[in-house]
């Protein structure tokens, strides 16, 4: 493997990647955020404080936090790299990730805020039999969070390789463990309020840093997008004109094309089923603020993806495909290498720290969501049948966070060579299959009942997982997780095309096969979801 310090040797501008500088900038970020987390934790007493930050964030603040939660390492490193290497096809990812927010804005955010307390399970339990639907919701939440966590930790591994110049398994594993421990500290001490502040700061730094790089790249090309595209396409080591049109990555056979359609559907329907996204809507005082937070999130996320388009082609033009592919970290190194080419080691240090912060913040958000789901849905409402008190509940949530953090560290060490964007796409497919149909049916379909919810959630989750196991992503190809074996019976690597429609269908069939109806609860839920009567209020301190 090429030593990190020699990455740019062939351009004639040997610029040392400076691990000490990168670590210092990152260390500074950790110190500042830890200080804020400690301050924020002083008011964390009740479950509403711990899970929902006392519902005290404003719409714009929560919009930044959503952007911080959503713009993960896969978005930043993965999409920049995909555009740099495969051109247009990388852009397709970002469009799916953005358009998906309209589902959350138009159909989910406000109604969910008005009817739930902390988790997705709350909304389902409103008008269905509590224990089975909460258990199902918690299982789906844990499954989605697990895939997403793996993706983030895997991204962390390849980042370490590039940015800190740390090679060899031991060094990388130590760094993954350190990142995991810092994240656990945020979540244990700061709860949702501390986690939210980490995400707000991270979103500001990330979008600011990317803005500077975008303007820089455009300035080098006379603020002419066409000229930038021409430079990217004229690199001899790249894919040439193919970079500018769709098809470089997905256009090979009818199966790869179908696979892309499947991915596109999973991306656009997955966001509104991601548990850590749903939970963010509870951190604001009203449904109106939930709406404002999504509007802010869409603006920030949309701008960010427009910037990554410029950065991706910029990396293709200024760094080149060969250097990116040969760098430690591979495709994921496009954005950091571009920073190095533009602003030297200092800008690289800043971008590296932001990328680490990104992983840290997203992992913290996932951990608090998964632990809330376990403590609130499983422990309090399923195991204790609603008898647990709030102090106990928060204690259980903290212990769960510790366990999930440990699992994330172990998973990150095992998964560190996996493709980050692919793992995230799987998380989206599982979220869209297991969660979205049930959420939409619960909010909009009067006849929907417990049986339908269970069929849809377990059916969607099970189908998605089984299809993933038998997909070419897991076995049967050189790039698979288990390259030696071949049990790829299902031809698509993303299951969304099959599992999402099936989950909608199962929800309908399951509902019709059960005679359960609860018009009183449905009426109460619908009135409350649209008007906000009796919605959980902000906590006054």
């Amino acid at each position: 493997m090429t030593p990190a310090s020699l990455v740019l040797a062939d351009t004639g501008t040997i610029t040392e990647i400076n691990p000490v500088l990168n670590m210092s900038v990152f260390g500074l970020f950790v110190l500042v955020t830890l200080f804020i987390v400690f301050r924020a934790s002083r008011n964390t007493k009740t479950a509403a404080d711990y899970y929902a930050a006392g519902r005290s964030f404003s719409g714009p603040q929560n919009g930044f936090a959503i952007a911080g939660d959503y713009l993960s390492a896969a978005s930043f490193l993965g999409i920049c790299g995909a555009i740099a290497i495969n051109g247009y096809d990388g852009f397709l990812y970002s469009i799916g990730f953005l358009v998906a927010w309209l589902v959350a804005l138009l159909l989910v955010a406000e109604l969910l805020r008005n009817t739930g307390k902390f988790t997705m399970g709350d909304v389902l339990a409103f008008r269905m039999r509590q224990r089975p639907v909460r258990a199902a919701a918690a299982i789906a939440t844990l499954a989605v969070s697990f895939f997403y966590l793996l993706a983030q930790m895997a991204g962390g591994g390849s980042l370490v390789n590039l940015l800190l110049g740390i090679e060899g398994d031991v060094g990388q594993n130590v760094v993954i463990a350190v990142v995991g421990v810092v994240m656990i500290v945020y979540v244990l001490i700061g709860g949702m309020k501390g986690t939210t502040w980490v995400q707000i700061i991270k979103a500001g730094l990330l979008i600011g840093g990317v803005l500077v790089m975008t303007v820089w790249v455009l300035a080098l090309h006379g603020f002419n997008l066409s000229e930038l595209l021409a430079d990217a396409a004229s690199r001899p080591d790249g894919k040439g004109e193919a970079l500018l049109a769709p098809g470089a990555q997905y256009g090979e056979t009818w199966l790869t094309k179908l696979d892309f359609v499947s991915l596109g559907i999973a991306l656009v329907l997955g966001t509104a089923g991601l548990p850590h996204v749903l939970m963010r809507f509870y951190t604001v005082p009203t449904a109106k603020e939930a709406r404002r937070s999504v509007v802010w999130a869409i603006a920030l996320i949309g701008l960010f993806y427009l910037f990554t388009l410029v950065l991706g082609y910029g990396a293709g033009a200024l760094v080149g495909a060969d250097e990116i592919n040969n760098a430690p970290g591979g495709v994921n190194s496009a954005a950091p290498l571009l920073a190095l080419a533009l602003g030297g080691p200092l800008l690289l240090g800043f971008i590296a720290a932001v990328a680490f912060a990104t992983i840290l913040a997203v992992v913290a958000g996932l951990t608090i969501t998964a632990s809330a789901s376990f403590a609130h849905d499983v422990y309090v409402n399923v195991l204790r049948r609603g008898a647990g008190n709030q102090v106990n509940e928060v204690k259980v949530a903290r212990i769960t966070a510790l366990v999930i953090g440990a699992l994330a560290i172990a998973g990150g060490i095992l998964a560190k060579d996996q493709n980050v964007a692919f793992l995230v796409a799987l998380a989206f497919a599982v979220a869209a299959s297991a969660n979205l149909p049930t959420i939409l049916y619960t909010l909009f379909w009067r006849r929907f009942n417990t049986n339908g919810a269970l069929w849809s959630m377990y059916g969607g989750l099970g189908t998605a997982l089984v299809l993933i196991v038998f997909s070419p992503a897991v076995s049967g190809s050189e790039t698979a997780m288990i390259p030696g074996a071949d049990f790829a019976l299902f031809p698509l690597s993303n299951p969304g095309l099959v599992s999402i429609p099936l989950s909608f269908l199962l929800g309908w069939v399951g509902t019709m096969l059960s005679s359960e109806r609860n018009p009183k609860k449905q009426a109460e839920m619908e009135v409350r979801s649209l008007t906000g009567v009796g919605a959980e209020k902000a906590v006054a301190h």
Binding site: Y88, F91, L92, I95, G96, L98, V99, W101, L102, V103, L106, L107, E110, T115, K117, D122, A125, F126, Q130, N224, L225, S226, E227, L229, A233, L244, A245, P246, G247, Y250, G251, K257, F260, V261, G264, I265, V268, R291, V295, I298, A299, G302, Y305, L306, N381, G386, K520, A523, E524, M525, E526, V527, R528, L530, T531, G532, V533, G534, E536, K537
Partner: protein, 113 residues
């Protein structure tokens, strides 16, 4: 917690079905649905059209529009534009046409405990 019975806005024995079938609530629900359902159908179809074109008509997408900017890039950027426009339209519609009725109903329901 059966929907937190301790902090329900109205009395527990409130007849929610009566509210649900009342004229004001029916109007609120109608206004929400006539706006968000067609828009959702539109952006899903518009997005799927984009995905299908990118997948099955790459040659068309590669047609240059000006300089090195081609149909595919313009189509992709238009997805950003429609997302921003729909967001703006919905926020405006919700503020003007949904919030007033929802606020009025909420106040009425929370006062008549």
């Amino acid at each position: 917690m059966s929907a937190s019975d301790d902090d329900v806005g109205g009395a527990p024995e409130r007849d929610w079905e009566e509210v649900q079938s009342g004229p004001e609530f029916t109007e609120l629900r109608r206004r929400l649905r006539v706006f968000v359902f067609p828009l959702t159908a539109f952006f899903i179809v518009w997005y799927l059209l984009y995905v299908l074109m990118a997948t099955y008509a790459p040659a068309f997408m590669a047609t240059p529009v000006f300089g090195n900017v081609n149909v595919g890039l313009v189509f992709g950027l238009l997805q950003f534009v429609t997302t921003f426009v729909i967001t703006g339209l919905y926020a405006r519609y919700a503020n003007r046409r949904l919030d007033p009725i929802a606020d009025k109903l909420r106040h009425e329901l929370e006062e008549t405990k």
